[in-house]
Symmetry: C2
């Protein structure tokens, strides 16, 4: 085989964007090296379910090697990329150097604490399997501690759960946690007065899920209130020291739990790149998704900054990442053929967020609706999107079981 002639495409990151690029090149006469620091792809939209003990880590993760078993032009390497040389076209990883003809940087995002040191130290996050499992362990431990706490003030603080951020992740986490308390914990802790427990959702702006039509924002608020979530809009968080949250108006909430869902920024490797950055450390790319100075280098997904027709930056969402991955693969194929890459246009497929059992909000084909039907669509669409037929079956089984028996799967506290 004359593999030396085939262009070598290096893809950094096996998230939605990287995966889609690799798939888009499956039938091309190229060599692909896909790199990730984990050995698995993670279905991030369901990460909050791991935190509330609804799903297991392995049910929303799939080994990259398994995904690409049949794609013979792809090799996977697990490891951390430590440097990129755009001029000489190579990357550094695992102590060696890998040369590329085309590079796709799809390294994703990490939590943005906006410089709050105490928040970074004490706050919980939902960014990868490890942080989600740590959040689960913390939440469940609070109930255990409360169960043998005699002081009513301390017990109330242990059973107070603050979630910051009124975006889809914050909304979904708050709704699911409220249901866990009402339906499951009440049975596990019959001696504990769980009327003392409360879930508080803080949002600095005037709306939940701000980018969406007002009827959906209102529906979300109403559905969360039905679940007894204490939603506080226009409420800034000033500090969290592990024992109490201080709000913008100077008032405090006594709690040991703060889940931070209010910010993201581009991955660490992006910081060091000699490329122009926009807000959240994202790399400014051409409309063709590559770098102005190095057209063979693409940046896509959460790490890339691009605006839509209205001048709004494209959100850090899986739908954007998937479409950009497809576009990058297409442009690489065009460039290999000596043609010009084409501009990327984002097609917004709508919104779908669950607020708990039988409750979700949706905007599909321009129609907004909420309630049971939206929830059924959410359930089936998410099962369909999970990678791996086995995972789909198991998640379906689990959700059916939880739905019928009000019983969350894994309430395991594991040691860190």
């Amino acid at each position: 085989m004359n593999t030396k002639q085939k262009p070598h495409i290096v893809i950094i990151g096996a998230g939605f964007a990287g995966l889609e690029t690799a798939r888009g090149l499956a039938k091309s006469s190229v060599r692909i090296t896909l790199i990730d620091k984990n050995n698995h792809h993670l279905f991030q939209p369901l990460l909050y379910q791991v935190a509330i003990a609804g799903l297991l880590p392995s049910q929303i993760a799939q080994p990259v090697r398994t995904i690409f078993r049949r794609q013979k032009n792809l090799a996977f390497q697990m490891g951390e990329v430590t440097g990129i040389n755009f001029n000489e076209k190579f990357i550094k990883m695992n102590g060696s150097v890998i040369a590329y003809d085309y590079l796709v940087i799809a390294a994703g995002a990490r939590t943005n604490f906006f410089g709050f040191d105490t928040l970074e130290k004490h706050g919980l996050q939902l960014k990868d399997l490890e942080t989600a499992v740590a959040t689960r362990n913390h939440l469940l431990s609070m109930f255990e501690q409360a169960s043998h706490e005699g002081d009513p003030e301390k017990r109330k603080a242990m059973l107070t759960f603050v979630i910051v951020g009124g975006g889809p992740t914050g909304v979904e986490t708050a709704g699911a946690l409220a249901e866990l308390i009402t339906h499951v914990m009440r049975k596990d802790y019959p001696r504990l007065n769980l009327n003392e427990a409360q879930v508080i959702l803080l949002e600095a702006g005037p709306h939940l899920i701000a980018p969406y039509p007002d009827e959906l924002r209102q529906a979300t608020l109403r559905l969360l209130k039905n679940k007894k979530v204490d939603v506080r809009l226009n409420t800034k968080m000033l500090n969290f020291n592990g024992q109490r949250v201080t709000l913008g108006d100077g008032s405090v909430i006594e709690t040991q739990t703060l889940v931070w869902t209010a910010g993201a920024k581009a991955a660490e490797i992006i910081e060091t790149l000699p490329a122009e950055k926009a807000s959240m450390g994202r790399v400014r790319v051409n409309l063709t998704l590559n770098l102005p100075q190095f057209p063979e280098a693409f940046v896509i997904g959460d790490a890339a900054f691009l605006t839509n027709g209205n001048g709004q930056p494209l959100p850090m969402l899986s739908t954007v990442a998937i479409q950009q991955g497809q576009a990058a693969a297409k442009n690489i194929k065009l460039m290999i053929e000596g043609k010009r890459p084409v501009k990327f246009h984002y097609k917004d497929p709508g919104l779908l967020a669950t607020v708990g059992r039988n409750a979700a909000v949706a905007r599909i084909f321009g129609i907004s609706f909420s309630g049971f039907i939206a929830w059924v669509i959410w359930v089936f669409l998410h099962i369909y999107r999970i990678i791996g037929f086995r995972n789909r079956l198991i998640v379906m089984f689990n959700w059916a079981w939880d739905y019928l028996f009000y019983d969350n799967q894994v309430r395991l506290i594991t040691r860190e």
Copy 2:
């Protein structure tokens, strides 16, 4: 309710022995406090399956509170017991003191490295969920590292897996790991020559599964050799420094992986007890399972030392623990009624160990057999014994899937 009059029974440990004691007292007019440092009961006989990526932690663990939801005379407390005062009849935990009328110490066992410091530092173990997951992460990482190692010597060392101990755990782990390599890893790593990989099982004595009839020992040896496991009998391990294993005859095996299954000793809390100890730090108990000086204190399961009719110490097995738990519950009920406790007699239910796909050895009702039938019995008996109907269904589904598609469930490398 006049609960003050009811005898208070404190059970330390929610393993097989503690669980069975608590269940045996379900219909008694007593108050039970069950304590464990974890919030879950662990089905230890399948722990090696977590290590070889065959099952998920939560599938062999069940929250204690869920198990005892319907047993109203029982309260669970998660925490570590830090002291026991037999004279004044109280225990210390979570910074407070709990008085008891009867105490059942079922604290189990931990890995015994027999003072090998380097082994404790570098060796892998299968004692709880954390060590099993750490073993899984290490095993899978070796394949990832080997996949980009250019030096053939180093690569061979990465793909050499040493398991020490020819008991059921060592035999089951070696067989399952050999199958993982042959059936699954070969597909995940098409570029890696897995003929270089080898599983070596070291046993210091002349036999595998020593306490059993010779025909079963021979069958075990033969089945493992069929799976290409390199079984070395009469082979002592002298040292393991993380890079190589030194054997008794001075020869070395270059490897980064050693799974230690060759020793257990009583749990830490047992060390400090003012009670007579036997081998492995186990507490010498009366034939009625309680302490000679403190008859209201029982020690059962792995932590207890008792001999059978032939003067042989009872093994650290779940079958012994379960029978002792039942016996302790019975004796406590007798003593509450003012009667004398009765002697414990162990009924050996036989042996059942799997050596891999379609292969197991069994001794049931005095009949020894091996092969496919033994394996089918093993599969169904283990599914039956797992706690929780949901876990049973999911384990059954997983094993059927693995069997049909040669595909192990979770080959996730998680960060520690």
